[in-house]
């Protein structure tokens, strides 16, 4: 039963809905751009992303320094060592991706985000774009720190013309995909501690345990084993991963699957 109360006059003009298909498309584009701007401000106005960037530089630099300084091999150089930093960088990129949504869920700011932009797919697309950009920044910063760390470790520059650009591309790609995987896990879990600990336990404990017992044909399809294959830094005797394009596809499939499940969960449930 609808009860109508006394109608007074109003000075406000009603907002007309979008009409033409072209206008709707333009509106979606500008809504996405607006959401990306909003997500960028979120990223740059709290401490956690800056702390993660600082840790990436510190740990990446230290890892490369240790390898360069303590590993005694004849062909070791900055070009071959700086990529070791990417192993750690991708962990931080995944954590950054997780926090992109879990902090919103935990502090209930997702209410304001989805009230301002009710089309949740646009918000998630904006988070994917900003997370990918942030993860790429982490990847590049980690590699730069790795190069500096390796140089400080006392090794020669090495072949910088071929190895260096390839490693920058693959390692940055690994970081970006890790960030997107982290975002997907964050959208599913909605809780920072649960998502981060779950991801790290899988990455560093479960996969290693499975690797120790399962056959190669199974191990090479494990997400982070495949992801590390993108860096191509395993010793000759340990090379059981597919080539770089194949491992990229495997890891990307996991990242897209996590993101799709997370996006569906976010679209269908209350924030």
């Amino acid at each position: 039963m609808a009860t109508t109360l006394t109608p007074p006059s109003t000075s406000f003009e009603p907002t007309a809905p979008a009409t033409s298909a072209r206008h709707r498309l333009e509106r979606r584009g500008s809504r996405l751009a607006a959401s990306v701007r909003s997500e960028s401000i979120k990223l740059t106005t709290v401490r956690a992303p800056r702390a993660i960037l600082a840790l990436t530089i510190l740990v990446g630099g230290a890892a490369s320094f240790m390898v360069a300084h303590f590993v005694d091999e004849p062909d070791i150089s900055v070009a071959t060592v700086f990529g070791f930093s990417a192993v750690f960088t991708t962990v931080f990129a995944a954590v950054g991706g997780i926090l992109a949504y879990t902090t919103e869920a935990e502090h209930h700011t997702a209410h304001q985000t989805f009230a301002a932009e009710p089309r949740r797919v646009i918000v998630i697309a904006a988070k994917v774009i900003t997370t990918a950009g942030y993860a790429a920044l982490l990847g590049l910063a980690g590699l730069a720190a790795g190069a500096v760390g390796a140089a400080l470790g006392g090794v020669e520059a090495g072949d910088t013309s071929t190895i260096l650009p390839a490693m920058i591309g693959w390692a940055t790609g690994f970081a970006v995909l890790s960030g997107i995987l982290g975002l997907g896990v964050g959208l599913i879990a909605r809780h920072s501690a649960a998502a981060i600990s779950g991801l790290l336990v899988w990455w560093f404990v479960v996969e290693n345990l499975i690797s120790a017992f399962a056959p190669e044909r199974v191990v090479r399809f494990m997400p982070f084993f495949a992801g590390r294959g993108m860096l191509d830094i395993a010793d000759e005797g340990e090379r059981i991963a597919f080539d770089r394009p194949a491992t990229t596809l495997i890891f990307a499939a996991y990242a897209i699957a996590a993101l799709t499940i997370g996006a569906l969960a976010t679209a269908r449930t209350d924030p």
Partner: protein, 297 residues
């Protein structure tokens, strides 16, 4: 105008909102009242698309919320006083400005409008609940919306803040805006609401102007007299029913002046003669009592 039609939401076996329908008119402050757990917050969340209704819909001037071209220009919602504790008030609002395509300067304008401009650069983690409430209201005002939707906005405000909120919402409505404000403080709402929507156990109990609800209250006259028995007999002779309430008599069906005249004619002394009408709070408590999920022992 907001039109809520047949809104229904069930969580498991519990029906949180049950076929709820009401309208909110522009130029009016509409109080949304109900006991704890009656479905007020769930209804408001459904009104801004945060919760998906099982059935029914909400329209803003005929358009569903998710189809609005610029939602913030149509409806400003403050459903809770939440913000990232590590972000400053200004940056919190700037994220909202950016998401809605508004100029960054709006953040400072609304912060001053709600009286917390001086703490714009402080982190929200250090804010009191009252300051957070003002920040939430600032967020709702960003798009200069035609409708405000506020869930318990007076929580945590000091008396001065409550008075300010009251006059702010009244002035907003007088300029033509529609305001839907939920509260469990009925006496507070009665001071500034034009209309009330009362729900219990997710169902609509009544929706009407405040005065109309007040007028439905039983009217009686309270009398204190040393000649109690004589007055009871006298009123009985005139067909007027009399009840007892402590040392007073409760008389229904006669006006104060009629009773005074009768007593004067028969030389009966009256020490007290007052009109009594149940308060809005009493009325609504009676109304929602059967539907209250959580009640005092």
């Amino acid at each position: 105008m907001i039109t809520v039609e047949n809104l229904t939401k069930t969580y498991g076996t519990r029906r949180a909102v049950d076929n709820l329908s009401f309208d909110v008119q522009p130029g009016r402050v509409t109080g949304f009242v109900g006991p704890n757990g009656s479905g007020k917050s769930t209804t408001m969340r459904m009104m801004v698309g945060l919760t998906r209704p099982d059935d029914g819909h909400v329209h803003y001037n005929g358009t569903a919320y998710h189809q609005l071209d610029r939602p913030v220009a149509t409806i400003g919602a403050a459903l809770d006083a939440s913000a990232h504790p590590g972000r400053t008030a200004r940056n919190h609002l700037r994220t909202m400005c950016a998401a809605s395509g508004l100029a960054r300067s709006r953040a400072d304008e609304v912060l001053h409008e709600v009286g917390i401009g001086s703490v714009a650069d402080q982190r929200v983690g250090g804010f009191s609940l009252g300051m957070r409430q003002r920040l939430a209201l600032a967020g709702a005002l960003l798009g200069e919306p035609e409708t405000l939707l506020l869930d318990e906005p007076a929580n945590g405000l000091d008396p001065d803040g409550i008075r300010w909120l009251r006059s702010f919402l009244r002035s907003y409505a007088e300029q033509g805006g529609a305001v839907l404000v939920s509260s469990h403080l009925i006496s507070e709402l009665a001071l500034f609401a034009d209309d009330l929507v009362v729900i219990g156990a997710g169902r609509l109990l009544t929706a009407a102007p405040v005065q109309e609800i007040v007028d439905t209250a039983d009217h009686s006259v309270l009398v204190e007299t040393p000649q109690r028995n004589e007055l009871i007999v006298l009123l009985g002779q005139h067909g007027i029913s009399v009840g007892e309430s402590g040392t007073r008599l409760t008389i229904a069906g006669a006006s104060r002046s009629d009773i005074a005249q009768l007593a004067l004619n028969h030389q009966i002394r009256l020490d007290e003669l007052v009109d009594h009408r149940a308060s809005l709070e009493d009325l609504l408590v009676d109304l929602t009592n059967d539907a209250a999920e959580f009640t005092s022992a």
